[in-house]
Symmetry: none
Subunit: 225 residues, 2 copies
DNA sequence: CTAAAAATACGCCATATTCCGTATTGATTA
DNA sequence: TAATCAATACGGAATATGGCGTATTTTTAG
């Protein structure tokens, strides 16, 4: 049985072009096309319910994202939506996903890719173009940036890096921005000794400057400042 | 030229198995394997720099996510990381991405898929298994973009110290632990110029080292780290 | 008690940083 | 238009830092 799909785009030429390419594939059937969100909601009622909608994001009247939201609210999991767009703007992607889109492809994608994606959303997957996937990861990465390490409370300890007590102590002082001399004075030893300790610290942490050591220590919450 | 890659997994059998499958492909070369995060950091220094690391997520000592974080902080875009795991737990995925992973595959993926994914990350893409992609979209859907509550205007601003735009910019980079050279490269100017700017910064802030400048900037919340 | 690990200390050398100059160019503004 | 500021760039000199060695003493652990 053919999978019923619909195409929504305000550009009739693009609909034609996509439709022509997809019509070569046996497993799908384009049950209708619509030129914007309002039109889409109308036609869903009048026609056979599509299982997948390919939707443009830039449309007059009711734009793609609003349309996704409406369809998602009304038909939930009965209809999967794949966004088809020429842009890969982060906020658009984000909003489309929040509105309920299941996939996000570029318009210049090959017809075979689109067909695969249709099958994928039907199987519960979330097909997306390479660029989009990368954008999404960036988005996720920028969300609550510093929580990562905090959520795994101090799993990594100085001794996991084989740091000794003295070395850990000196790392603290490094992190306060103290010079060799200052640390030496504070600990009542020679600055040559401090230098050697710091050398050993660098080797164990695999860094090669005070700054890097400092940053690593901060990352793992070994220091408070 | 073959693409150098590394495999990290605490299970030698799995490393062997993956290695054997991948060795059939001409375009890649496994330059080393490691059994945990610490081991990985060691071997990165000792061997040829891999362009892609296939990393297990469940490891003793330093787990996969922490290892990703370290590699990402140190080597940034020089090394891409693909997580390889048997689990598809949301939090693991989330943390791995936040830590800087570029791809996320199931361990039972076909060797050809892994090879494709390696090529994809090298091209700037973000390959992920179907299940993972869906999980990520769910995650993003449940994440309401948090507003920056930190809007309370800082009492003391850089311009209160008469810092110019450029100087403020350079102060940011100082605070990341960058050297004169690195800052110069980033801003496309001579390191002598940076040297002079920093001198002026010191005079205006009344400090006399990067550390002090850094600490002052942190005190006034001019930087986030 | 004895071997191993940790802490101490020195030297050499290359590079980075800091503090002092000077100087040119473009933009702003009084 | 003239004066000032911002950004650019260079050089010298003193000090700090980082990477390599070696070596002694003290502490810890088996």
């Amino acid at each position: 049985m053919k999978t019923p799909i619909a195409i929504v785009d305000d550009n009739p030429l693009l609909i034609q072009s996509i439709g022509r390419n997809l019509s070569l594939y046996e497993e799908i059937e384009i049950v209708f096309t619509a030129k914007n969100g309002i039109d889409l909601l109308d036609k869903i009622k009048q026609n056979q319910l599509p299982k997948v909608i390919l939707m443009d994001i830039e449309m007059p009247q009711m734009n793609g994202i609003q349309a996704v939201y409406e369809v998602y609210q009304r038909y939930g999991h009965q209809i999967k939506i794949i966004m088809l767009t020429v842009f890969d703007q982060e906020d658009k992607i984000f909003h489309a996903i929040q509105a309920g889109a299941s996939g996000y492809l570029m318009k210049d994608e090959k017809a075979s890719t689109i067909i695969n994606s249709i099958n994928e959303v039907l199987a519960g997957g979330s097909p997306m173009s390479s660029i989009v996937a990368t954008k999404i990861l960036e988005l996720l990465r920028s969300t609550q940036k510093l929580q990562v390490i905090d959520n795994q409370p101090n799993e990594v300890q100085p001794k996991d890096f084989e740091l000794t007590k003295r070395e850990t102590e000196i790392l603290q002082l490094i992190s306060r921005g103290m010079t060799y001399k200052q640390i030496a004075e504070q600990l009542f030893v020679s600055d040559k000794t401090i230098k050697k300790h710091i050398e050993n610290i660098y080797n164990k942490l695999h860094v090669n400057s005070k700054y890097e050591a400092m940053q690593l220590a901060r990352r793992y919450n070994w220091i408070k400042i």
